[in-house]
């Protein structure tokens, strides 16, 4: 596809998107987290707050000097995941995870947004629903997302 046409297409699309898509999020990520403080956290889940308006997963990491820190990372509302059968027990204490995100602006808080939460093999902890035809409640795909990585 000619570049100029592609640009035109994307430009037109962007204009339409702006006009018609009521994008909404619960809160101001940009004011909560600090773009100058990217983090990559590899560690074990020690606690899951499966609550609204946002889930917080507590991850214990071991620093290079051997000391430990517990970080809290922010995810979405748990309600839709509950409807897919995922509960806080689906991600048991001890599960090893990799999280990338940005630290809270208050650097005294060990908090970050969870841009991505994966197992140590890169599989995502939270898989999307397929909307209509989504798996019924209590049928969260255990083979795909619930099993902690070894």
């Amino acid at each position: 596809m000619p570049t100029r046409f592609l640009t035109l297409v994307l430009g037109a699309a962007a204009a339409l998107l702006t006009a018609s898509l009521p994008a909404a999020a619960h809160h101001a990520f940009g004011a909560e987290f600090d773009a100058s403080r990217p983090v990559l956290l590899k560690g074990r889940i020690v606690k899951v707050e499966w609550v609204n308006p946002h889930t917080w997963i507590h991850v214990e990491i071991v620093k290079p000097d051997g000391s430990k820190e517990v970080w809290m990372v922010e995810g979405g509302s748990p309600n839709s995941l509950l409807r897919r059968g995922a509960t806080k027990n689906s991600f048991p204490v001890g599960t090893e995870v990799v999280v990338d995100g940005y630290q809270a602006r208050d650097h005294s808080e060990l908090r970050a947004n969870a841009r991505n939460v994966t197992f140590t093999d890169g599989r995502k902890l939270f898989l999307g629903s397929t909307g209509t035809g989504a798996p019924p409640e209590d049928s969260f795909p255990a083979d795909k997302a619930v099993t902690p990585s070894k």
Binding site: L16, P22, A25, A31
Partner: protein
């Protein structure tokens, strides 16, 4: 996140382009469909509207200028398939040995404020266009006929411009300017959006008018008696009680969800809402907002929901939208929004720390 948004934008772009080339589908009249159906009734003789409904849809409020209201089945299927494919791609594993995101931000726009949001897997938006009279609809807005919200009045425009310069508690989160651009917006909890403060669901989920949420948690429940109808919205656990055959409260009473009174017109429940708080602000409206909703059961599994918006201090004329509320057997879960709203305190603390840093710099 950036990649994700680019992919999303690409899919929607395609959707928008397709929308420009649609051919009108065979029209069916709304009346023909609803009149043929005789709904189950309560002992008082009125249709039984009770149940839980899933309002999720990908049909937006407005559609692209010059495009028809009705999508052909083929076009709709194609766009819905693309949406499903996007979702599937988002579920794929990513690099386990990835590094931290880039310093200075990942470039994600709007409410993601350059730091990204969270995994797409948390989201549960609609996957299909809303179906009314067997037609796949490209917009909620049906009047004006071009599917666009009418122009704002001069006062309405001025008000919106003021919001952009100095966001208030009723600002749309999607227009959040970010701490660097509008530091004053984060100083005071009273100036944070109602959704962020757990007062109402964001995006008018509770309404009125009750709109689909394009993120997640789209369930609503109706409980009906001869004297009152309750509409429970999962997001932020908003419950609205419609008083049947009653007069509106005196104008001095102002409510977050407005004051709703109802009556039956044939088999349609008509709900009239006024007395909004001046902080509710649907799409930048004022406390003069007047919403008329019409609930009609059109088959065993579907309500047709129609809403008319009138606020002469905001829009040049009234406007109307409609979409289907499909019944669901999914469960509504509690949404105790204050329980872990650490985000709000983090946002306010962030603004204070920034002030301290700046004042320390200026005194050096």
């Amino acid at each position: 996140m950036r990649n994700r948004l680019v992919v999303l934008a690409g899919v929607l772009a395609l959707a928008a382009l397709l929308a420009l080339t649609l051919i009108p589908a065979a029209a069916q009249t709304a009346k023909a469909a609803s009149k043929a159906y005789n709904p189950p009734r309560l002992p008082d003789g009125h249709p039984d509207l009770q149940g839980t409904y899933d309002l999720a849809t990908i049909t937006p409020m407005e559609r692209a200028a010059g495009t028809p209201l009705v999508l052909t089945k083929e076009q709709a299927l194609k766009l819905e398939t693309q949406r499903a494919a996007l979702r599937e791609r988002e579920d794929q594993p990513i690099d386990a040995n990835r590094s931290a995101p880039p310093k200075g931000g990942d470039g994600s726009p709007g409410p993601y404020g350059n730091v990204g949001g969270y995994n797409y897997g948390w989201l549960d938006p609609g996957s299909t266009f809303t179906v009314v009279n067997g037609e796949k609809r490209a917009s909620l807005v049906i009047d004006p006929a071009d599917g666009r919200v009418p122009p704002r009045t001069a006062a309405g425009k001025k008000r919106m411009a003021e919001f952009a310069e100095r966001p208030t508690s009723d600002a749309q989160e999607s227009n959040d300017p970010g701490l660097e651009k509008a530091p004053g917006a984060y100083d005071d909890p009273e100036r944070r959006p109602l959704g962020e403060r757990c007062i109402l669901g964001f995006g008018s989920t509770s309404g009125p008018p009750a709109l689909p949420d394009y993120f997640y948690n789209n369930l609503h429940q109706i409980v009906q008696t001869p004297d009152s109808v309750m509409i429970l919205t999962e997001m932020v656990h908003d419950a609205r009680t419609v008083r049947m055959n009653a007069q509106h409260l005196p104008k001095t009473y102002r409510l977050w969800l407005g004051d709703s009174v109802g009556h039956w017109e044939g088999d349609t429940l008509v709900v009239d809402t006024t007395n909004f708080s001046d902080k509710t602000r649907f799409y930048g409206s004022t406390e003069n907002l007047h919403v008329i909703e019409r609930f009609t059961r059109v088959d065993d599994k579907t309500l047709l929901y129609r809403f008319t918006i009138d606020d002469p201090s905001t829009w040049t004329k009234p406007w109307t939208g409609e979409y289907a509320w499909p019944a669901t057997d999914k469960h509504i879960y509690e949404y105790a929004c204050h329980e872990a709203n650490y985000a709000l305190t983090d946002i306010l603390k962030g603004a204070r720390l920034r002030d301290q840093e700046q004042s320390a710099k200026s005194t050096k």
